[in-house]
C-alpha cells in the first residue's frame, strides 16, 4: 500500500479525477489532501496560474487551495482521500475554526501550515495545541527569511514562511502533544551541517556532519518529515549514500509524499536498497499510525 501524505487537489491543470488517474498510474491508494489558505496580504502571484481559478477573490488575490475543494474531492472519492485543513493563524479564533472543521467535516490534519509568520508566534502555538488535542498532525512549510549572498551577507527573502529551525524548535517545545511534519526547502537544507553557508534554496553537494535536523529528530519524538516536493527529493539525491543511512535511521518518522504528480520520489527510492520493512514504513505504515484509516471496504 502507498499513502501520499502531501497532496493537493484542483491544481496544476488537473481536477480530482485527474489526480485519481495519476494516483492509479503510480500505485497510490490514498492521499492526504492539504489546504494552503493564502491570506490576501500573502498573495503568491507566481502561483495563480497553477491554482484553481474558481478561488480568485474579487480583489484579484487568490485564496489558494481551499477546504471546499478538498471536501468536494473527498465527496466523490471517499475511499481515496483524507482531508486536512489549516486556517490562517492570524484569523480571530483560528483554533475554533479548526475545531469546527474536525467536527463538521472530519478533518484529520491541521495542514498545510504555510504562512508568513514564525512557527512560534503565539497564534500559531494556540492553533498547534488545538491540533494536538485532536491528534491532527501539522505539516509545516519552511522557507528561509534570510539567505547568504556570494559575500556571505544575509539577504532578506520576502517570500519566507515559518522562520527557521530555531522557530520550529520552540514550537516543538511548546507543543509536545502535537505531531509536526517537516517539509520544504527551509527544513531540508538543515540535513547538512553547512546549511548556514548555502545561498541556494536547494543546496547541493554532499551532506556534511552536524545538520540540525538530526538533533531535532533525536530531541523531539513529535517531529516527523515528509519526503515530498523538490526539496525532499533534493535532500536525498544530493548524497545518495547518506540518503540510505538517513532513511534507515529515521525510518519510523519519514513519510512518502509528493506535493505534485508523477513518480520521481518513488523512482529514486527504488534505487536505494531499503529493506522491505523500512520501505513499508515510509510508504504507508508511518502514515497509518499518524492518521489511522480503516482499509476495510
Amino acid at each position: 500500500m502507498i499513502i501520499d501524505t502531501h497532496q493537493h487537489v484542483f491544481w496544476h491543470g488537473r481536477d480530482d479525477a485527474g489526480l485519481i488517474a495519476d494516483m492509479d498510474e503510480h500505485g497510490i491508494d490514498l492521499a492526504w489532501l492539504l489546504t494552503w489558505e493564502v491570506p490576501a496580504d500573502e498573495d503568491a502571484g507566481e502561483y495563480h496560474r497553477v491554482l484553481n481559478p474558481a478561488n480568485v477573490r474579487a480583489d484579484g488575490t487568490h485564496a489558494g487551495i481551499t477546504l471546499s475543494d478538498s471536501l468536494r474531492a473527498r465527496d466523490r472519492y471517499p475511499d481515496r482521500f483524507i482531508v486536512g485543513y489549516c486556517p490562517n493563524p492570524r484569523q480571530p479564533n483560528a483554533p475554533g475554526l479548526f475545531e469546527s472543521a474536525v467536527k463538521m467535516h472530519d478533518v484529520r490534519l491541521c495542514s498545510e501550515w504555510k504562512f508568513r509568520i514564525p512557527f512560534d508566534d503565539p497564534r500559531s502555538i494556540e492553533l498547534f495545541r488545538a491540533a494536538g488535542q485532536y491528534h491532527a498532525p501539522v505539516v509545516l512549510h519552511l522557507d528561509m527569511p534570510w539567505l547568504p549572498d556570494d559575500q556571505g551577507k544575509l539577504v532578506f527573502q520576502p517570500n519566507w514562511y515559518g522562520g527557521t529551525v530555531a522557530n520550529l524548535r520552540r514550537a516543538l517545545e511548546a507543543c509536545p502533544d502535537t505531531v509536526f511534519i517537516g517539509h520544504a526547502p527551509g527544513f531540508w537544507r538543515e540535513i547538512s551541517g553547512d546549511a548556514d553557508d548555502a545561498g541556494q534554496n536547494y543546496p547541493d553537494g554532499p551532506v556534511t556532519p552536524g545538520g540540525r535536523l538530526f538533533e531535532l529528530f533525536d530531541s523531539f519524538s513529535n517531529l516527523y518529515a515528509d519526503l515530498s516536493a523538490g526539496s525532499g527529493l533534493n535532500a536525498l539525491k544530493r548524497d545518495p549514500d547518506h540518503a540510505k543511512q538517513f532513511l534507515l535511521r529515521y525510518q519510523d518518522r519519514l513519510l512518502f509524499g509528493r506535493d505534485y504528480y508523477g513518480g520521481d520520489l518513488d523512482s529514486f527510492l527504488g534505487t536505494i536498497d531499503l529493506p522491505q520493512e523500512v520501505a513499508a514504513k515510509i510508504h504507508c505504515e508511518n502514515a497509518q499510525k499518524l492518521v489511522p484509516v480503516s482499509t476495510n471496504p
Partner: protein, 188 residues
C-alpha cells in the same frame, strides 16, 4: 507580531542604520489563569522578553526602548508565574530585565504609563532608587498620558541630582540630539 519576526528585524535594522531608537510596546501572550495554567491573551504585543532578547542580538546597532506591562513585569523573577497584567507584589530576585540590561548595551527603557511607575513602586522607594541609579544612563522620563504623576513620584525618590538630569533629559538628548537653543529655556 513577535519582536523577532523577520519583518520586525528588517525594520529594526533599518531604524538602526538611521540612528532611530525603537520604543517597544510589549504585552505578554500568556498569563497564568485561575487554574494555574497559562491562558492565552489575544491582545498581546511583541511576545516576551525572550523575543526582545533575540531581537537585540539580531540588531546590535539599534537602540530599543522597553515599555508597557510585558516589559516591566520582567523586573521580577516571578514574572512567568504572576497572573496579574500589572503585578503588584514585591520584586523577587532573578528578574530578566537586569540580565538583559547588563547584556545588551542597546537596551534602554522609558518609565512611562502605569506599567513603568508600577514596576518602580512595587519594590519600595529605596529599591526603585537603586534600580534607577544602576541604569541611570539608560532610563528615560516619559508619560504616555497627561499629568504629573511620574514627575511627583521621581522627585520623591532619593536620587542624585545627576541621575535626575540623566533621566529627565540628558539621556533623551544623547539619543536624539537637538541643536543648542532651538527650543529655548525648556531644554537648558
Amino acid at each position: 507580531m513577535l519582536l523577532d519576526d523577520p519583518r520586525s528585524i528588517e525594520l529594526f535594522r533599518a531604524a538602526g542604520r538611521l540612528s532611530c531608537p525603537v520604543v517597544l510596546h510589549m504585552d505578554v501572550a500568556w498569563l497564568v489563569g485561575d487554574d494555574g495554567r497559562p491562558q492565552y491573551q489575544s491582545r498581546w504585543y511583541g511576545g516576551s522578553v525572550e523575543n526582545l532578547h533575540r531581537a537585540m542580538i539580531a540588531c546590535p546597532d539599534t537602540i530599543f526602548i522597553g515599555h508597557a506591562p510585558g516589559f516591566w513585569r520582567a523586573i521580577s523573577g516571578d514574572a512567568e508565574s504572576d497572573p496579574a497584567l500589572y503585578p503588584s507584589g514585591p520584586i523577587t530576585p532573578g528578574g530578566r530585565l537586569h540580565e538583559l540590561f547588563d547584556q545588551h548595551a542597546n537596551l534602554w527603557a522609558d518609565l512611562s504609563a502605569g506599567s513603568g511607575m508600577n514596576a518602580l513602586k512595587r519594590g519600595g522607594d529605596d529599591r526603585a532608587a537603586a534600580f534607577i541609579e544602576r541604569y541611570a544612563d539608560r532610563l528615560l522620563f516619559g508619560r504616555d498620558c497627561y499629568g504629573g504623576d511620574l514627575i511627583r513620584y521621581l522627585d520623591s525618590l532619593p536620587l542624585n541630582d545627576t541621575t535626575r538630569q540623566y533621566v529627565y533629559c540628558q539621556n533623551a538628548r544623547r539619543l536624539i540630539p537637538l541643536p543648542v537653543g532651538q527650543h529655548g529655556s525648556a531644554l537648558q
